[in-house]
Symmetry: C2
Subunit: 298 residues, 2 copies
């Protein structure tokens, strides 16, 4: 014989109204049915909860003690139901996002600006690491999703293209490039260049672009962090190639940029998640929004 949540609800209704009849209407139950429910509860606990004469109902001491505990139980059950529904709707939970440097600084904030307010009870962690590290984190379960330029074809990961992130060249406002309407790769060769090092996917893309043109890319300055690049460019030491997703969000006072006029000068940004694994609900909500934002940026 087991205690029932229904019994607790009914008990609380009686304890509050101190009347079987009133509690019955409150519970949408006939009065004898309610009477029986209380009786069963008392039998289950082998305890008398109410002192009842036909004209008066009052809680026994044990009943009073049980009321406190029952109140807590009722709250817990209700709480559990809303929590689990929120969780299933992606309104609650933890979301661990791994993203490459430019995505983390450009695209992700754009998405989270909408996602955050819509999902106030979701704990979000952003891992801004190099692309390879991002994918490794997904594989290890440390991140739910990776947003990187690298398309992975391993069987344990599944990647889906999100948008094309075109390359742009960045330079000071007064720079000669500011006069040009369109910029080609060949236009850059006249100026010293600032670039991130070879560990970066962005750099590898640039290298490939140069190789395709039969040239070698030899930057005048090589750094690890994008922020350092911006400093060098701002100081007039050179120009630098970055991705559109970054410059369209970051505040780049004193700098201007042009999209590189080449059909192949882009990286395909992909979402990567674990294969053979149903995504957490909050992740599907996040993914849906990512696609919307990606579509909106055209």
């Amino acid at each position: 014989m087991n205690i029932t949540f229904r019994q607790i609800e009914v008990f609380l209704a009686v304890a509050r109204s101190l009347s079987f009849s009133q509690a019955a209407v409150a519970c949408h139950l006939s009065q004898p049915a309610l009477s029986a429910t209380i009786k069963r509860l008392e039998e289950t606990l082998s305890v008398k909860l109410f002192e009842r004469t036909t004209r008066q109902v009052s809680l026994t001491d044990v009943g009073l003690e049980f009321q406190r505990l029952a109140e807590h139980l009722s709250d817990s059950v209700l709480h559990t139901q809303v929590r689990i529904k929120e969780y299933a709707a992606g309104k609650r939970g933890r979301l661990s996002i791994a993203a490459g440097p430019s995505i983390a600084a450009g695209f992700i904030p754009q998405v989270l600006k909408v996602f955050g307010p819509q999902h106030p009870d979701v704990e979000i962690r952003i891992h801004d690491e190099l692309s390879d590290t991002c994918l490794e984190m997904v594989r290890a379960g440390k991140a739910d999703i990776a947003l990187t330029p690298a398309m992975h074809t391993d069987s344990d990961l599944v990647s889906v293209p999100l948008f094309k992130d075109y390359l742009v060249v960045l330079f000071p406002l007064a720079h000669p490039l500011a006069q040009k309407k369109t910029v080609r790769w060949s236009d850059l060769q006249a100026y010293p260049q600032v670039a991130v090092n070879n560990r970066s996917n962005l750099r590898q893309t640039i290298n490939e672009q140069y190789r395709a043109l039969g040239a070698d890319f030899a930057p005048a300055y090589e750094v690890a962090q994008v922020a350092t690049m911006l400093g060098l460019i701002h100081a007039g030491l050179g120009v630098g190639v970055l991705s559109e997703s970054l410059v369209e969000r970051a505040s780049l006072d004193g700098l201007a940029h042009r999209k590189l006029n080449s059909r192949s000068a882009y990286r395909r940004i992909c979402t990567t998640v674990l294969a053979h694994r149903a995504p957490p609900p909050v992740l599907t909500a996040f993914l849906t929004l990512c696609k919307q934002v990606a579509a909106a940026r055209g």
Copy 2:
């Protein structure tokens, strides 16, 4: 459609073993019945809790989240059941005892010495007040029970005699009274007496005893607290009449006592509780023990 504690138990069994068959035997259920229970739970929450191929069962993300909540619920229900049974058995709760000065210092500790260890989860409060105050506290609901010499006959209170508390005279070890085997009231008149003031029930009993003998009681020293009496007697300033229940427990180094040789030199100690009110379970346990201890002291 409502969630059931049985469903939660079953869910947790499956979540722990990750097998419907094993969980079924653990729950004393046929495997199809268990399968149906899980299905109903999933329908109630409108959420898929397990990812199951016929050969493998695993928790979904929602299921994992639900497991934490369910674990908490299960604990709460179990906790509630044991708590309420402990409470009903008098093993748990709050007990507020009001007792007159000598009872509080003598008899009560004797009872609690046994009661305390047997009921470790009972919060006990002792109100050591004058007898009238004790009865008033019971009437006001501030105390569950009063142990006093005063027998109350008001309709809202019900008193039951517990034991006879005989009067004794207390004196220093070297006092002449130490030579006597029996002491009568008349024997005391030769010595200065120390007594508590007229607000005390003890003092009123002494006054009555003297009146019955056609004498007036005129103590040499009158104080409010028993502890002060003991100090004065110890200093050799006089002898004092107290109750047997007090001296048989208190440590009275350097003092001796004799029972007063009179059939009427006692007070009838009573328990008093509210009438028209079922006593809290812990109180019945306490009362039972009081009667046992009272019977044992003869």
